[in-house]
């Protein structure tokens, strides 16, 4: 009895209130998104809002359970939970049901489950367990590599489904490694590689290569503070590229432009190597290596995507990247979403008064595009409140993470922060057109049991750890 009283006293009520606020706002917005004249009762179980009510009740029970369980349970069973959830991720590839082109659901007779939503929780836990025992010396590759493997394994499994959204969420966990001491160079180049990977698939590679060359020349200019060097390098590359282009055009006739550019950059590098050597221009050398690496990376990703991947996998990735998914032409979904949000204006059209979202012009309104309803019916003010609540919650969680005594709890807390942040940023960013369309739910808001329970578990386990932050785990 005493223990539960202590628990209540040391529980972070601010986070719980924010959680409840978001869940309830989400429920009302799902009602608005699905609302039609035939079914007006918000508890109607045949409708999504009715079901969401049940999911919310179940989520609250899940949260209470997460709080009641002894905090050491999570520490000792971290690997077991991780292993079990990875097994589920592997099994869903075999036994899962394909929905919207991705095999990410287990379908049972009365409900379906998306293991990736729970795997996020498990991965944060395993990462915490690993870094706690290894004294988290993330400056050493011996620690970076296994830690990355813990993250990349579920990322790979979800990429195979293919569920690009979840893959990105797992990758966001590298933010935790950065906080715990991974070199910013490793972190930044890793993130750049990922951004470049997506750009390769989304943008014409030749233009991307040109952009990289220009970027490298600008970097050289800034690094050396002499524009003549950058200009000279640019001229050398241009001339060599032109010569190769003409040779290919008239003689060989089969080489891609990207490869010509790559070869030209390589040769230009050999040409200026004496300069680098004599002047000891380390910065130029590093930038050149960066450029060469990026070009090789872009070309190999492109090659792998277009020549190694089987057709149907490529189509799936294209669909999930939104390249082919627009039934009405490029950008239709996003356009519709922007129209609805934009039409909300400052104060919105009022609850249940949205016209755009009611016409079913926006796809997946109650799950991935739930933000449309918020934007249209509550306007800029409403959107601001929602984003503000998330920001408040995340900053609060960072604060909580930093006051932990154990590395385990702090790492786990940052895991929660990373996962929630990437979800909110991508989901809202996609609805307002600053991020490509990647199907990923808005935490606590979007319709769906799996994601709601997954997020609740994620958050409340952290609140449980935080509640006993003064006890020692071992």
């Amino acid at each position: 009895m005493k223990r539960s009283i202590n628990l209540w006293n040391s529980l972070d009520k601010t986070s719980v209130i924010l959680f409840l606020l978001l869940v309830i706002m989400g429920w009302f917005n799902i009602y608005a998104a699905v609302y039609n004249e035939e079914h007006t009762r918000i508890f109607d179980l045949s409708q999504r809002y009715g079901k969401q009510f049940i999911w919310i009740l179940a989520a609250i029970v899940t949260g209470i359970f997460a709080l009641i369980i002894d905090n050491r349970f999570y520490f000792f069973f971290a690997w077991f939970i991780y292993g079990f959830l990875m097994l589920l991720l592997a099994l869903v590839l075999v036994f899962g049901t394909e929905i919207n082109g991705a095999k990410s659901w287990f379908e049972f007779s009365w409900f379906s489950l998306q293991p990736s939503e729970f795997a996020k929780f498990g991965t944060a836990l395993a990462l915490a367990g690993y870094l706690n025992t290894r004294r988290h010396d993330l400056t050493r590759w011996k620690v970076i590599i296994p830690a990355s493997a813990i993250i990349l394994f579920p990322a790979l499994l979800t990429a195979l489904q293919p569920d690009m959204g979840s893959t990105i969420v797992f990758i966001a966990l590298f933010l935790v490694l950065f906080r715990e001491g991974m070199s910013p160079y490793v972190f930044v180049s890793g993130m750049l590689a990922i951004i470049l990977f997506f750009l390769t698939l989304l943008v014409n590679n030749f233009y991307l290569s040109i952009a990289l060359v220009v970027l490298a020349l600008l970097l050289i200019w800034f690094a050396t503070r002499r524009w003549k060097i950058a200009l000279g390098g640019g001229i050398i590359i241009t001339i060599i590229t032109a010569i190769f282009y003409l040779i290919n055009h008239y003689v060989i006739q089969s080489i891609d432009n990207e490869i010509i550019l790559l070869t030209a950059v390589l040769l230009s590098g050999l040409l200026v190597s004496w300069y680098i050597y004599v002047k000891k221009a380390i910065a130029v050398f590093v930038i050149f290596l960066f450029l060469l690496g990026s070009l090789v990376f872009v070309n190999s990703v492109d090659y792998g995507f277009n020549h190694v991947l089987p057709d149907h996998q490529r189509d799936r990735i294209n669909i999930l990247l939104g390249i082919k998914s627009d039934p009405h032409g490029t950008g239709y979904n996003v356009n519709q979403s922007i129209i609805s949000i934009g039409s909300g204006g400052l104060t919105g059209k009022g609850y249940l008064q949205g016209t755009q979202t009611k016409f079913k012009f926006v796809p997946k309104q109650s799950s991935d595009f739930i933000f449309c309803t918020i934007g249209e019916e509550w306007g800029f003010l409403g959107s601001f409140v929602v984003i503000g609540s998330y920001l408040f919650l995340l900053l609060r969680l960072i604060f909580l993470a930093e006051r932990q005594r154990s590395v385990f709890s702090r790492v786990y807390g940052y895991g929660v922060v990373s996962i929630l942040f990437i979800h909110v940023f991508i989901n809202i960013g996609m609805a307002i057109g600053i991020v490509p369309v990647i199907g990923i739910p808005l935490p606590f808001f979007s319709y769906g049991g799996s994601s709601l329970w997954g997020f609740t578990l994620l958050l409340f386990v952290f609140l449980r750890l935080d509640a006993s932050r003064n006890e020692y785990l071992v």
């Binding site: 039609n36 933010l175 950065f178 906080r179 715990e180 001491g181 998914s325 627009d326 039934p327 009405h328 032409g329 490029t330 950008g331 239709y332 356009n335 922007i338 129209i339 949000i341 934009g342 039409s343 909300g344 204006g345 400052l346 016209t355 755009q356 009611k358 016409f359 079913k360 012009f361 934007g375 306007g379 800029f380 959107s383 601001f384 984003i387 998330y390 920001l391 995340l394 900053l395 960072i398 993470a401 930093e402 005594r405 940052y414 922060v417 942040f421 909110v424 940023f425 809202i428 960013g429 307002i432 057109g433 600053i434």
Partner: protein
Amino acid sequence: MKDPFINRKYIVMALVITGFLALIIRLFVIQIVKDTYRLSADNNVLRYVTQYPARGLIYDRNGKLIVSNQAAYDIMVIPSQTSVIDTAEFCALLDITKDIFRKQMRTAINYSRRAPSVFLKQISDANYARFQEKMFLYPGFYVQPRTLRKYSRPVAAHILGYVSEVDEGLIKKNPYYKSGDYIGKSGIEEAYESELRGQKGVKIFMVDVFSRIKGSYADGSMDTVAVQGEDIISSINIDLQEYGELLMKNKRGSIVAIEPSSGEVLSLVSAPDYDPGLLVGRIRSENFARLQSDTALQPLFNRALMASYPPGSTFKPVNGLIGLQEGVITEDTKFGCDQGYLFVGCHLHSSPLNLPQAVANSCNSYFCQTYRRVLENKKYGSVEEAYIHWKSYLNQFGFGSRLGTDFVNELAGFIPPASYYDRFHGKNRWKALTVISLAIGQGEIGTTPLQMANMTAAIANRGFYYTPHIVKAVGHEGKIDPKFTLKHTINIDTAHFESVILGMEGAVGGMAGATARVAAIKGIAVCGKTGTAQNPHGKDHSVFIAFAPKDDPKIAIAVYVENAGFGATYAAPVASLMIEKYLRDSISNKAMEQRILELNLEENIKEDETEHKPVE
């Protein structure tokens, strides 16, 4: 415990704040700064009008237009935008009864109150003109233009396929298609659907309460542009196709003609067929049901691709070639024939014969003895081993599996695997004589007319072929699937082909005992081989394969005339006429042409009890 990286928490916070700030700034821009997205109170309804791109046109190999488009108009309804109207007047305007009106409204409401659905399909031009004028009286109703197919000649239905409305199942599977959209079914229309259909666009209009368009929403910046479908250049010669269909009138069977040097299908006839114009517009479903239920003629069944027959004597050239390559015979090897070999009979002809003579005379004994040597070859440990080797040659010719053409439905045919005979006779319990009928193309073997035409093309090329295809190019820049420019080489020496071709030339050109003189054309060296496909259900099928000219083959052809008996009687003249039509565009033997045109085999067909499953 000291944490050297504690300051990184500020970087993480900064990242989170920057990310959310970016979201807020963007929201501020689209919700407050730009007023294009806001709608004033009196025109608060947007209408999304799908822009249907024109479907790609289809041309023949010489640029003659075969398939084009014609306009049609659907009346669409958005139930939630309709108001109480004078139903009687409305129905009179569109020539419909009140019952239809009520039924269509119910269907539309069941589909969706707020999304448009088709109220009335393909109204007449007159109704369209009248409705267009009065449309403003009926909010919630509008006209959606669509395109229907139009055929310049009533031919080539099996090649072209047809276009029909998408069904519910497909709409669920593929989000591109919406209720009322059209999709290609069978033939080129299906195989090249994604190229032909183009890409739909959407125009967004602001509409007032009277359903009147008030202008383009956000100055059209949110519209997407429809992309026109790509045109298809078919490889068929439409004149030859038309002529072939004419020759096959009142008969059952098929013609497949291929250009050997490219694998391009010049003509593909399956008789009986139908006028493709029957499957367009409002008459479509009724006509389709009628064609489908015609079990006697089965006009929807594409025999050229889907019917499998034993090839009969047209198979002898291939067995001769395998014998030569395996070294069990040479061009000069002679076999005697006393009107048969063991239990396989033969007709009366001079004896003994060498290989070219045996091809020209179609001697059964010669090929049985050759085949026996192939299977009893000491090189291989057993008959079974030799058989597997023989079968691998056939696979190289494209038998026993689908050729991989751009036809949607294509039968694989059947070359029995060795295990097939093991099952009947036991392992190592069967001998060359057990399967001797394969020597003359009879028995368990099944090939399609398309495969036979492809084999003929491979012989004409002296040992290679390109996968047959019906589309020469997609779009006017001449794109084509690279698999159609891939050369399939058969592992048999070119010289051996010359021996067999010599015999095929003799069969038509009048070597002693020639079986196909009827196919000869003055001035053109035609090489051919007759055949009879056994038909246990009725009169045998007449088969002929040929290519011409001998030295620079321009056309390879396989002709099947069902229930017509011996190959030389009907299939050979049809092939000969087709070759001359293609090479010269005129016919010298008018009497033969007349005889074929007047030939009516409907009586024989009725007696035949073969059942084919019609394929949609």
